[in-house]
């Protein structure tokens, strides 16, 4: 009886020890896998996701790495990440400089996706935001150098909207105009055609994932001119005419006659009242 109990006790101890050992090893392995997976959710800058791809954090939960988007891309631009590549293994991407997105109107890659990884709500390809083109190198961009390259502007599928050419004085020659390519995030789909077409050895204009390419103003910022348009008029109270304390019979005119005798001046001391309370408050509350 006693013997049996001791045996039972040691068996139980053995079982608990085995279980703990197993749980710890599997837990360690899990920690490794989890950390590795977390690291791989940062998309490398050259890798662009197909149109309609969810934000990277959600994408790596929704994409089941089946490669159907790769198969249904008629231009064969998409690839699945291999294990050694610095992104989630088996997820789809393209490299704009090698082969950009051709922006099919029926978006077959999105239709092929069996999960929500590529958002089926995307039906208009011009609404896709695969990334954002950025003119990264002004020193090598031919238009910045004063040439009329214009290639990025010409190949853009959202012509004259996603990239515009803004004239600027060429201060080097003093008599020519620079046509500066400017990307507008409102229209750029991130297809990468501009990067592919850029004729310099290394592209001066590149497409980056949105999180890298796009800045954001602080939430409390207001653009005065936008607010003015919204309100239909100036929101800033007009300046109160400045009052000077001067000897009797004198006047001061800024930018005009300066200090001079006024023939019919008001009696001294009759300084106009300070601005009325509401106007003053409006001035204080004004921003930008």
């Amino acid at each position: 009886m006693d013997n049996a109990n001791t045996h039972k006790g040691s068996a139980r101890r053995q079982f608990l020890a085995d279980t703990a050992r197993l749980a710890c090893s599997v837990g360690l392995l899990g920690l490794g896998v989890g950390l590795y997976a977390r690291h791989a959710t940062a998309l490398p800058p050259a890798a662009i996701r197909p149109p309609g791809a969810l934000a990277e954090s959600e994408f790596s939960a929704a994409c089941i790495r089946c490669g159907l988007c790769v198969r249904d891309c008629p231009y064969d631009i998409l690839m699945l990440a291999k294990p050694e590549e610095p992104m989630a293994t088996g997820t789809p991407y393209f490299v704009a400089r090698q082969a950009p997105c051709e922006m099919c109107e029926d978006i077959p890659c999105v239709k092929a996706c069996p999960t929500g990884a590529l958002d089926h709500g995307l039906t208009d390809i011009t609404k896709a935001r695969m990334g954002l083109a950025v003119l990264v190198d002004q020193e090598t961009c031919l238009n910045f150098l004063g040439l009329r390259c214009d290639i990025c502007y010409r190949v853009c599928p959202v012509l004259d909207k996603a990239i515009t050419l803004e004239p600027q004085t060429n201060t080097r020659t003093g008599r020519h105009t620079l046509f500066i390519p400017v990307v507008h995030s409102e229209h750029c789909t991130g297809c990468g055609k501009c990067e592919k077409a850029c004729p310099t050895e290394i592209a001066a204009i590149k497409v980056f994932p949105l999180y890298m390419a796009k800045g954001r103003l602080s939430a409390h910022y207001r653009l005065g001119w936008v607010e003015k348009e919204k309100a239909g008029g100036s929101l800033v109270a007009p300046d109160v005419e400045h009052q000077y304390t001067l000897p009797e019979g004198m006047r001061y005119e800024l930018g005009g006659k300066g200090l001079h005798a006024a023939p019919n001046s008001e009696p001294a001391g009759s300084i106009p009242a300070v601005p009325s309370a509401p106007t003053f408050k409006a001035l204080q509350g004004d921003k930008l």
């Binding site: 085995d18 197993l22 749980a23 599997v26 837990g27 392995l29 899990g30 896998v33 989890g34 590795y36 997976a37 977390r38 791989a40 959710t41 954090s57 959600e58 790596s60 939960a61 929704a62 994409c63 089941i64 790495r65 089946c66 490669g67 159907l68 790769v70 198969r71 249904d72 690839m79 699945l80 291999k82 294990p83 050694e84 590549e85 989630a88 293994t89 088996g90 092929a112 996706c113 069996p114 999960t115 929500g116 990884a117 089926h120």
Partner: protein, 287 residues
Amino acid sequence: MSPAPLRPGTEAIAAKGWLAAHKWLMLRRLSQFGILLLFLAGPWFGLWIVKGNLNYSYTLNFLPLADPYLLLQSLVAGQTPEQLGLIGVSIVVLFYLLVGGRSYCSWVCPVNLVTDTANWLRARMGLKGGAHLTRATRYWLLAMTLIAAALTGTIAWEMVNPVSMLHRGLIFGMGMAWAVILAVFLFDLFVMRHGWCGHLCPVGAFYSLLGKLALLRVRLPRRDACNDCMDCFAVCPEQQVIRPALKAVDGAPPVILAANCTNCGRCIDVCSKDVFAFGSRFGGSGQ
């Protein structure tokens, strides 16, 4: 019995002939390579019958099939599939409820070809012993993959899963995936007999749970004829599943009900006394 240890199946070949003693093995290889070929016909020959890989495939632009284990991880990570994914996963779940979850392991999974080769070589080289791990380790790993998916909000296991890495690699380009597969091969060859498929793989663990109530099972209609030659134990990748049914442990019925039987049918092949046969779990055996 000859004094020198015979290779398992020798008696069966003598009794039934080579073909009958390799029937299920050959059918199984046919299924494994056939399925692989269907997937490869597109990228290799431009014959697009099946698109995708074992994670999700679309056959003849008509039949979607999706891996329930993968979609479960995606669900745990906070994402739901679209319609085709849902239809695909329902079909696959129903299919394996019928034919046994781990039939996936022996009839479909490409890693089985790798580990079977390792095991064959291990026997040929006479390698014995190695590390010991409980077969329940795979369920711990299965739980770990789901917890990792929930905590990281990603399908974390898919980053390292050798099963999908091999299949996707063959179809879409291997990259360094060969190193992972080589590791699995060497592990099974030198470290642990039936190490990956029999002890560790969480995919197999998931499918075993899915097939727990499966209809198609290996039955033992002639278990009285057993002459204890042990050939079935020698070839079985999940040896522990045979004994209860064969020896009627605690009055067990003559059917292998253990969830980890992969329905590979090799025991049927190597038994010279025809003890085993495929049948339904509810009795009635045939082929």
